[in-house]
């Protein structure tokens, strides 16, 4: 591509005059925009969390680092393939396995500590290597994978001792050891817990320790750089600052949810792309397996799905393997039920049978790109509908030859050019004359927004209509959408 150049005068406005050609007439990005790896991460949408480790055998949620390695004694060699097959049935695209929790016990043969499966209590434990087996299973199943490794280490004598020893001798080497299990990792999960009043073993010191600043102490900028050099599409969650915690562990994101900022709603004005991830438990006890636990119902999990994936967040849903290193059958069953429910409710896109899909405004086509309404339903995430610059409002109209029962509307922005839409509404009509507003306040869209037309994420109910009208009422710049689906 050639830029058009001309030397200008050194005035207050210009040192240099230059115009960047735009033959395809693409809209200018609204910054911030996601990086390539953030885009790939967002497309994972729905994936599993597997909390397994020393706590599985001590009935704890947080150990204190003093647990004897011999307590880790699974009744079978843990089977990550079974975990991943089970969650794949629910439509999940990947998973993240805990390989070291705050107690410091490592589920792989690390060179950094003896507090690992190398000294487990039985042969099944000593044969355990979660990073190896989890990554291999994921590749076999065509799924994404990543690891949770706790920066806080209650076992290490070095953690919080006022020096860099823990980071240089333990934490960074551990992260690099884990990175070697695959350059195709999609996310590395760093828990934000940092000590406080929770007493730890700390190599026998048996005390409480804190650190002043996690980012500086763990040298997050250079850890991030290192991981990216080895695994270029691996997003560093939490303190890594490439994806944010959604602000609760109850499985919901804000109805307004910007991919910038913090917490459940984000912030339109923040300078950095930091999309939300919602971590939630699918079972009724802890993050780790506990005797007597049971999973939530498929309907409860579907509600969580709608309120996270359907609100511009990703969902990492926790299913804890038990002491045999497998997911309990009850979990496997509910995962199958959830997969069936998602397929039944969100599997048939009614725009495929629409008699017409039109928009009130369409951006002028470029040399090699159009922005027509047809791009909304062509199944191609790289084509999109847009309006001309300056047109920040528009309507999308869908019409069927016969009355349909509509349940959900799904919209996806072309976030490669930034998150733009601030507010929209959805209306239905039986005759094209009298319209009924279906959804309550609908604000942001982002990567994906699923709007229940009965205004309920808890109950499944439809609206009879022949006509559907989506009105974009406010946008930071011309709106861009790559997908519209109606279920």
């Amino acid at each position: 591509m050639m830029a058009l150049l001309a030397f200008g005068t050194a005035s207050r406005g210009q040192i240099y005059e230059e115009t960047l050609p735009n033959p395809d007439n693409e809209p200018a990005p609204v910054h911030p925009v996601p990086s390539h790896r953030q885009l790939l991460w967002q497309e994972t949408e729905f994936y599993a969390f597997f909390h397994f480790g020393m706590n599985t055998f001590t009935n704890a949620e947080w150990g204190n680092g003093s647990e004897a390695e011999s307590k880790f004694a699974p009744t079978k060699v843990p089977n990550p393939r079974q975990w991943l097959e089970a969650v794949k049935a629910a439509g999940m695209k990947g998973g993240i396995a805990v390989v070291k929790h705050h107690d410091g016990f490592c589920l792989w043969p690390t060179a950094t500590t003896t507090h690992s499966i190398v000294n487990a209590g039985n042969q099944n434990g000593r044969d355990t290597n979660i990073p190896r087996d989890f990554s291999e299973a994921a590749r076999d199943l065509g799924m994404k994978y990543g690891f949770y490794v706790s920066p806080w280490d209650l076992n290490s004598q070095y953690w919080g001792d006022g020096t860099s020893n823990y980071v240089n001798k333990v934490f960074l080497p551990q992260c690099l050891e884990l990175a070697k299990y695959g350059s195709d990792q999609f996310e590395m999960w760093f828990d934000g817990a940092t000590g406080g009043d929770h007493a730890g073993y700390y190599g026998g010191a048996n005390t409480t320790r804190t650190i002043p600043d996690a980012s500086t102490y763990y040298d997050i900028p250079n850890l991030r750089d290192t991981v990216h050099a080895i695994a270029p599409n691996c997003v560093i969650w939490g303190v890594g600052d490439e994806a944010r915690w959604i602000g609760n562990e109850a499985g919901w994101a804000g109805g307004t949810n910007w991919s910038m900022g913090w917490g459940e709603s984000g912030n339109e004005s923040e300078w950095k792309w930091r999309a939300g991830e919602s971590d939630a438990k699918a079972t009724n006890k802890g993050w780790f397996w506990h005797s007597g636990e049971s999973p939530k119902s498929a309907n409860e999990l579907f509600k969580i799905y709608l309120e996270t994936v359907g609100r511009n967040a990703t969902l990492i849903l926790n299913f804890p393997p038990n002491q045999s290193g497998e997911l309990p059958q009850a979990d496997v069953t509910v995962l199958q039920q959830l997969g069936t429910m998602i397929q039944q409710r969100l599997g048939t896109d009614l725009t495929a049978t629409a008699s017409s899909i039109s928009t009130s405004a369409t951006r002028t086509a470029g040399a090699n790109r159009t922005f027509d309404a047809g791009n909304l339903t062509d199944g191609d995430k790289d084509t999109y509908w847009a309006t001309n610059d300056g047109d920040h409002t528009a309507t999308i109209n869908v019409e069927w030859a016969e009355t349909q029962t509509l349940h959900y509307v799904m919209l996806m922005e072309y976030i490669r050019l930034g998150q733009r839409i601030r507010k929209f509404s959805i209306e239905t009509s039986l005759d094209g004359v009298t319209w009924k507003k279906c959804a309550t306040t609908t604000t942001t869209v982002g990567y994906k927004r699923i709007v229940p037309l009965n205004n309920s994420t808890s109950t499944y109910g439809g609206v009879d209509a022949r006509y559907l009208r989506i009105s974009i009422e406010d946008s930071r710049s011309c709106p861009t959408l790559h997908t519209l689906a109606v279920y």
Binding site: H31, E249, E264, W271
Partner: protein, 511 residues
């Protein structure tokens, strides 16, 4: 140590580790008067698809050393004086992202060690360009030989205090002790350029790394024309009390200490008012032949700027009320003289909080002086505030709506309403108590909550020396042991309210 570092070299040839180098302690001061002060100049953009990264646009065309556009000595508060001949000019390209900036490669890299440092930068942008400025540090670990020295080590923002003039910005920075900083990037316009049709030039000058957080040149916030600790020169005159009456609020008394002429009471005294409401200030004053003045820093620029037209404050004036100025009070009513003390009280005319004033914290100044609009005090020889028995006190003004928002974020449990509803930016009445309930996750218990309340909760705690919010920890012992509920006092519901539940492993109660 060698055995451990072999982990890196064995598995990852990209990073060859060698012995730790001592930290570099190189003084950093770049005035742009000599090319010897830096290694090279260019541009940088964090956006990976930036045309300046893909090579479509050439960054070196967008930076240039130019004559300083504004060498005048400045006396206006909030504005820095920069008399140097040359400055670095950056053309803010509309094709760069919100993090497009000038890159200055340092002559020698430097390490912060374990301490916090402060990067001082002079920045001058056109008057209508008021987006924040960002400093990005590029560098690498000195013990990772083959790591590129362009890893982004920190991002720090600062806001402008003077538009269209030189600003003396200060950026606090920290890194891991193993890190060397090789380059600075000054981002002049931390905003999306998608609506821009033209570029503009930002000037950058006098970059210095020091241990001091204080601006080097800029006149301080809310200046006085006398020493802050000045003691009274007269015993027959003293300001002892302020009484505020706002629409819809009960009267509020604030005691004013008399040991010094100036009292900063912003940590102790906040006046509440709503946009469109009126505020009246009475000053209890021992003495006579003095007048009262009230100021509000509506634009939060650290200054009180009077705008008096037709003998009264005009729109935007930050001198909002007075009993006497050049023969009139702030209602424009002619006054016989400036003796405003009646029965030991000076009553300033009521003033209105302008409609549309954003909810937030504003600095308010009350002054007893003689015929003077200067918020720093009469500085005219023969009528010095300090000699006349005048006084100045600063308080905060909280401009609020009828409702504020409350939210809760935490791990390993929930903080809910007593009815088990989530606190998700829910609207609640301003200055009314609110009850919350702790619901730990299974196998967890709670140790308390942290309540952050006020304004701009994601921003700095102080803006222009004005506290924006407070953070208070409520221990578990303060909760009802049966219901696990706690009622947040009305005084904490004074703006946005954010709750962080503190949960720790332990026996879960049955709720």
């Amino acid at each position: 140590m060698k055995a451990i570092y072999n982990i890196f070299t064995f598995h990852f040839s990209l990073f060859i580790i060698y012995a730790l180098l001592p930290s570099l302690a190189v003084a950093q001061h770049i005035t742009f008067e000599s090319a010897e002060e830096y290694r090279s100049l260019g541009v940088y953009d964090t956006w990976e698809q930036s045309p300046f990264r893909t090579g479509v646009l050439k960054g070196s065309n967008y930076v240039k050393l130019m004559a300083n556009p504004d060498m005048e000595e400045k006396e206006a508060p909030g504005v820095a004086t920069n008399t140097s001949e040359m400055a670095l000019a950056l053309q803010r390209s509309r094709y760069g992202s919100n993090t497009f900036g000038a890159r200055i490669d340092l002559k020698e890299p430097f390490s912060l060690g374990t301490s916090k440092k402060y990067v001082h930068v002079l920045v001058n942008k056109p008057a209508d360009e008021n987006a924040n400025v960002m400093l990005i540090g590029l560098g690498k670990r000195h013990d990772w030989e083959e790591q590129a020295p362009e890893t982004e080590q920190f991002w720090v923002t600062a806001s402008l205090s003077a538009q269209g003039q030189w600003n003396d910005l200060v950026f606090p920075i920290t890194t891991n002790e193993s890190v060397d900083i090789h380059s600075f990037v000054i981002v002049p316009d931390l905003a999306s350029p998608h609506l821009r049709t033209t570029d503009f030039i930002a000037f950058i000058d006098d970059i210095e790394v020091t241990d001091s957080p204080k601006p080097r040149y800029q006149i301080i916030n809310y200046p006085l024309n006398f020493d802050t600790n000045q003691t009274p020169t007269r015993s027959d005159r003293a300001l002892t009390k302020l009484t505020f009456t706002s629409t819809g609020e009960s009267s509020k008394d604030v005691t004013v200490p008399t040991a010094t002429i100036y009292n900063n009471l912003t940590e102790q005294a906040t006046v509440f008012a709503k946009a469109g409401g009126s505020v009246t200030v009475k000053m209890t004053y021992k003495g006579g032949w003095m007048s009262g003045y009230a100021y509000v820093d509506w634009n939060n620029d650290g200054q009180f700027t009077p705008i008096i037209e037709a003998n009264k404050p005009s729109s935007g004036s930050e001198l909002v009320s007075y009993t006497y100025l050049s023969g009139y009070n702030s209602k424009g009513v002619a006054q016989t003289n400036g003796n405003s003390v009646v029965n030991g009280t000076i009553t300033c005319p009521a003033f209105t909080i302008p409609e549309g004033t954003q909810p937030g914290i504003y600095r308010m100044r009350l002054k007893i002086d003689w015929d003077c609009a200067d918020a720093g005090g009469n500085n005219t020889p023969g009528n010095l505030l300090t000699a006349n028995g005048g006084a100045i006190a600063d308080v905060l003004l909280n401009v609020h709506d009828d409702e504020v928002r409350i939210s809760a974020n935490q791990l390993n449990g929930d903080v809910l309403t007593p009815e088990d509803a989530a606190l998700s930016d829910a609207p609640i009445p301003f200055r009314q108590p609110v009850t919350v309930k702790m619901v730990p996750a299974p196998d967890f218990t709670y140790t308390g909550i942290v309540i952050t309340h006020g304004y701009n909760l994601d921003g700095p705690e102080y803006v222009r020396d004005n506290r924006q919010y407070k953070r208070v920890t409520i221990p578990a012992a303060s909760f009802n042991k049966t219901t696990h509920e706690y009622t947040i006092p009305a005084s904490y519901i004074d703006g946005e309210v954010r709750i962080e539940g503190l949960f720790t492993p332990g026996e879960t109660f049955v709720h």
